[in-house]
Structures are given as structure tokens and as C-alpha cells.
């Protein structure tokens, strides 16, 4: 399978702090989903912004369909702007409060001149219908919509230019559970109908599990584990992935207490980023582990074998 998006050695800074360190990602041509799993402080939102060139790159490359995204300008950049779109976490702030749904969703047509003015309303109506919104929202303003409706409008706008790839940054975490379910169904449908590829960034393992065949687990901006989503979630190897997996509440299940780190192990600057919270940490973990192949996926952990055995 050919790669649609290839990210190599990506390093990103936020202010003076390096928040993403040496990250590689591959996204195959759609339909395909890559999950980026991370909690707050993992650098995932900065990563999402960098993928659509909203955040400057410190080092490394982002190549989309053969085009170096960082160096693209003029026509090549405009083409990238058509091919790759971002769906934000917060559908509220993502829509201009002074613009109607019609104005917001037709803005991409106006920018790229793809659809003549007279036909835009019909196009927007078709997009709204595709994302499951009633026809009468077209003349409403963002504050007159519910959170779920706003998120659909944002998705409709992202689809307007028929992109080949979406970057979805926590697309459902601001929504009620039942609404969340419908947005997930929408993403699944679009994936099949439009042959979309996407990078889904989320802390929610179940969402990633459902939508992505491949996943990457980030902790403090570094890749802890990567591989097939099913492998990662059914048999997590890295102690952090295991902790994430164990933290997912399930109906009618009481979880065992969280394993705690031995008190005599001291924190380190150059070692494993998960050192402080890891229950398996030993002295060896004061040197940084590199990604290596364990049990059919890549893991950055000196004690991967022990972790695998203990799980």
C-alpha cells in the first residue's frame, strides 16, 4: 500500500519546550485510519496542527502524496489545503460566530473558487444532508446550534473541498455520549463512502479502536508503542499502554487498584519519559529506550518482555 502521508523524525516546540520528539507516522491512502493516542501533555494537539501546517516544524519532514508540506508554496500549498483538512475538538470556537452555517460551509468554495456563487447554496445543502443535519440549519448561526450540530457543520466544511485526508483532533470529546455515537457513525460512513484517510487524535481508546487500524501511543511527545490497534489494545506491551487500557471504564466491571512505582527509584531527565509513573522501572530505564520490535509491534521499553509477561 502506498503512503498518503509520511512523517519522519518530526520535532515540534511549543514556546521553549519541545513537545513532540522524533515522531514518525504513516497514513495509507483511504479508506484508512491512524490513531494517535495520548493524554494531556502528550503533544497531540500540536502534532495535529503541524500536520496541517498550522504549527512550525523544528525538525523532520511531513510529506503528503510526494509533496514536502513544509516547503510547499503557491499552487502546491493550495492543493494541500484542499487535500488535507482539520476537524477541531471544539466545534464551538471553530465556527465564526458572525457567520451563518451557509457562509461558513461555503467559505472553502469562495477561497478556492471551485463552485460558482449561484450553486453554493445547493452544494452546502447537499453537504449538510451528508453529515446528517436538517436542511433548516443552513441559515442559522453557531450559537443557535447544539454542540453535536456544530461539530457536524465543522465536518461538513472540512468535506467541502473533497479532501483525501482529515486530521481529527478529539472530534467527539466535547459531546454528549449519545451524540458522540452519531458522530462516530458519521466518520465511519464517510470513510467508506468517500474513501477517506484520517489521523484520529484521541485519548479515548474505544474511539480509536473503532475507527483506526493502526495506532501510535504518545507519552510526553514520544512514541511509546505503535502497531495494529487490535494488538495494542488486546495485548498492550508498554506499561503506559497497559495503564491506559486498564483505565477504560467498562460497564459493570470494577477495576483492580493501580500498580504503584517502587519508591526508591528516582526520576531522571534523559531516560524513559514514563520512568516516573512506571511500576516496572529499573536503573536501566535511566537511559532512553528506542523503538524495537516486540510481539508484532514496535515498543520503546527496556522491559517490554517483562511487561508482556506481567500483563
Amino acid at each position: 500500500m502506498s503512503d498518503l502521508l509520511l512523517v519522519k523524525g518530526l520535532r515540534l516546540a511549543f514556546g521553549q519546550t519541545e513537545v513532540v520528539k522524533d515522531v514518525d507516522l504513516r497514513v495509507a491512502a483511504g479508506p484508512f485510519g491512524l490513531g494517535v493516542i495520548g493524554e494531556s501533555g502528550s503533544g497531540k494537539t500540536t502534532l495535529a496542527r503541524a500536520l496541517v501546517r498550522l504549527h512550525p516544524v523544528l525538525a523532520g519532514s511531513v510529506v503528503f502524496d510526494g509533496t514536502d508540506v513544509q516547503r510547499a508554496s503557491g499552487k502546491a500549498l493550495l492543493k494541500y489545503r484542499r487535500d488535507a483538512q482539520l476537524v477541531f475538538q471544539d466545534g464551538d470556537g471553530a465556527l465564526d460566530p458572525r457567520m451563518s452555517v451557509l457562509a461558513s460551509v461555503s467559505e472553502p468554495f469562495a477561497i478556492h473558487g471551485t463552485i460558482p456563487r449561484a450553486k453554493r447554496r445547493a452544494q452546502v445543502a447537499a453537504l449538510l444532508d451528508e453529515v446528517g443535519l436538517p436542511a433548516d440549519v443552513i441559515d442559522r448561526y453557531p450559537h443557535q446550534l447544539s454542540g453535536g450540530q456544530r461539530q457536524r457543520v465543522v465536518i461538513a466544511r472540512a468535506l467541502a473541498l473533497e479532501p483525501r485526508m482529515l486530521v481529527l483532533d478529539e472530534p467527539t470529546s466535547a459531546l454528549d455520549v449519545t451524540v458522540q455515537e452519531r458522530v462516530l457513525q458519521l466518520i465511519e460512513r464517510l470513510r467508506e463512502q468517500r474513501g477517506l484517510a484520517y489521523v484520529l487524535i484521541s485519548h479515548n481508546l474505544a474511539v480509536v479502536d473503532r475507527l483506526c487500524e493502526q495506532s501510535v501511543v504518545l507519552y510526553r511527545g514520544e512514541v511509546m508503542e505503535r502497531g495494529r490497534t487490535r494488538d495494542l489494545l488486546e495485548r498492550p506491551v508498554h506499561p503506559y499502554t497497559q495503564a491506559l487500557r486498564a483505565a477504560v471504564p467498562e460497564l459493570g466491571v470494577t477495576r483492580p487498584p493501580i500498580a504503584r512505582r517502587a519508591a526508591n527509584v528516582h526520576s531522571t531527565l534523559n531516560g524513559c519519559p514514563y520512568f516516573d509513573r512506571c511500576s516496572l522501572a529499573v536503573d536501566q530505564c535511566q537511559t532512553k529506550p528506542t523503538l524495537r520490535s516486540v510481539a508484532g509491534r514496535e515498543v520503546a521499553c527496556h522491559r517490554a518482555e517483562e511487561a508482556l509477561a506481567s500483563h
Partner: protein, 258 residues
């Protein structure tokens, strides 16, 4: 003490935003209230804390705790009850902490406010922090220097130190990372075990409720659509809405991608 609620109704003008016909929360018991935004679950919590009128609303019906009717006592009497017998923790604990005070000062003042002798403060604070798995050094920090999970555990430590009888937790973990969320849930379990605290746990996440609670109430648009034992509700939900909520709980491995 048992918290008993009868026909509790919260209204703003002519609009009833929450109606809870009956609730009986025994010491050490956990009751979960599930619902989405606008279901009235948070309004119910505010009413039980005597805070509705600050938002311009009105409460009718009764809610009694240790012979005190929470819906009819004055604000003056509330001061003897709030934080003492009944307390609440919220989604963003950091915003509930005075940003200009160190956590230690905050803790001490709270204890003093509730009549705890100064000589006992240090011991009580350390014991309570230990219960919620926080190091005593955190007392030297300001609220903005601690993480969301630490702030939430600190709030629970206050509850533990004051021996509060009823704790209302309104979405206490939904602003937290999943691994941190698990820690807070564990701390809440400990609180109940050690102090026999009753817990009213409000959440949109039915899975969390099923893990913590004995009984559950499902609310929608201000009314109770289902109420009963958690096991019963999960096994055999009476309303379609409850079923939809159950179905919406994300499951791993259900229909994953290859």
C-alpha cells in the same frame, strides 16, 4: 446520616429543569445520576447544596439530612451544613480553589472555619492527603502549580478531613485524563470505605457509574426515566433512553478495524 429526598423540584420561572421524586442515600452508599447535558442532573446537585437561588431558581419539595430540611433552611443555617455534613466537588476543581493561597493555607483555613483546633491541623492534613495518595509537600504549592487530578484529590482530602457525611461529585473526572480519572475513582472508593461517606455521583458516563454505584438514576430533560439497582438497570433497562446510553458506552474490541 441518611439523605432523603421527596418530590424535589427545581424551577426557573415557569420552567421545571429538574424533578426528582424520590431518593434515599444511606451512609456509605453510592448512588449515581446519569444523564447528558440539559438532563437536570447538575441542577439537582445545586439544589441539594442550597445553591439554586444564586442562579435565580427556586426549589420545592423536601430533602432532609439528619433532621434538617435542606430546602427550607436559611443561608445562615446552611453555613453549619455545607462543607460539614454535605459537600460537593466539581468538574474543574482548580477554579474552585482560591488562586492566591497555598494549598496548605487553604486547607488550614477550611479546618478553622469548621471549628477544628489549630493543634490538630497538621496531623489531620497529612492523614487526609495520605488517603488521597498525595505527598504532604503539595501543601506548599499554589493551585496553578498542581495538575487537575491532584487538585481533585486535594478537594477530596478536604472532604475526608472534615468527615463530611454526604459528598456530591458532579462530573468529577470528566475533565481529567483517563489514567488520572482512574486514580480519582480509586480515591473516591477509599473515601467511602474508610469514612462511610455517602456519595452522589453525577456523570454522563454510565460505565463509571456502574463501577462505583449501588443504585443509579437516569435523568433526561429534567425528569427521572429510570431508577434502581445498577445491576438490574444494566441487565434489563426499562427505557429506550437508558438502552441508548448503555449502547453509547464505548467498548473495546466490539467492532474494531482490521
Amino acid at each position: 446520616m441518611t439523605l432523603r429526598v421527596d418530590d424535589l423540584r427545581v424551577s426557573y420561572g415557569d420552567r421545571t429543569v429538574a424533578h426528582l421524586p424520590h431518593l434515599c442515600l444511606e451512609p456509605g452508599q453510592v448512588i449515581g445520576i446519569a444523564g447528558e447535558s440539559g438532563s437536570g442532573k447538575s441542577q439537582t446537585a445545586l439544589a441539594l447544596m442550597g445553591l439554586t437561588h444564586y442562579a435565580g431558581g427556586k426549589v420545592t419539595g423536601s430533602a432532609s439530612l439528619a433532621g434538617i430540611d435542606l430546602t427550607s433552611i436559611s443561608q445562615r443555617e446552611w453555613r453549619q451544613v455545607r462543607g460539614r455534613r454535605i459537600a460537593m466537588i466539581m468538574q474543574s476543581p482548580r477554579s474552585a480553589l482560591n488562586p492566591t493561597l497555598r494549598l496548605g493555607t487553604l486547607f488550614s483555613r477550611t479546618l478553622k472555619l469548621h471549628g477544628v483546633a489549630r493543634s490538630q491541623h497538621q496531623g489531620l492534613m497529612e492523614k487526609a492527603l495520605d488517603e488521597v495518595l498525595l505527598e504532604p509537600q503539595i501543601l506548599n504549592r499554589y493551585p496553578h502549580q498542581v495538575s487537575g487530578g491532584q487538585a481533585q484529590r486535594f478537594a477530596i482530602a478536604l472532604v475526608a478531613a472534615l468527615q463530611v457525611e454526604v459528598l456530591i461529585a458532579d462530573e468529577p473526572t470528566s475533565a481529567l485524563d483517563v489514567t488520572v480519572q482512574a486514580e480519582v475513582i480509586e480515591v473516591l472508593q477509599g473515601l467511602r470505605r474508610r469514612h462511610n461517606t455517602s456519595l452522589l455521583f453525577i456523570s454522563h458516563d454510565l460505565a463509571l457509574i456502574s463501577e462505583l454505584a449501588d443504585e443509579a438514576i437516569v435523568m433526561r430533560d429534567g425528569t427521572v426515566v429510570e431508577q434502581g439497582k445498577v445491576g438490574q438497570i444494566l441487565a434489563d433497562p426499562a427505557s429506550d433512553y437508558t438502552r441508548a446510553l448503555i449502547d453509547a458506552v464505548p467498548r473495546i474490541g466490539a467492532g474494531n478495524r482490521e
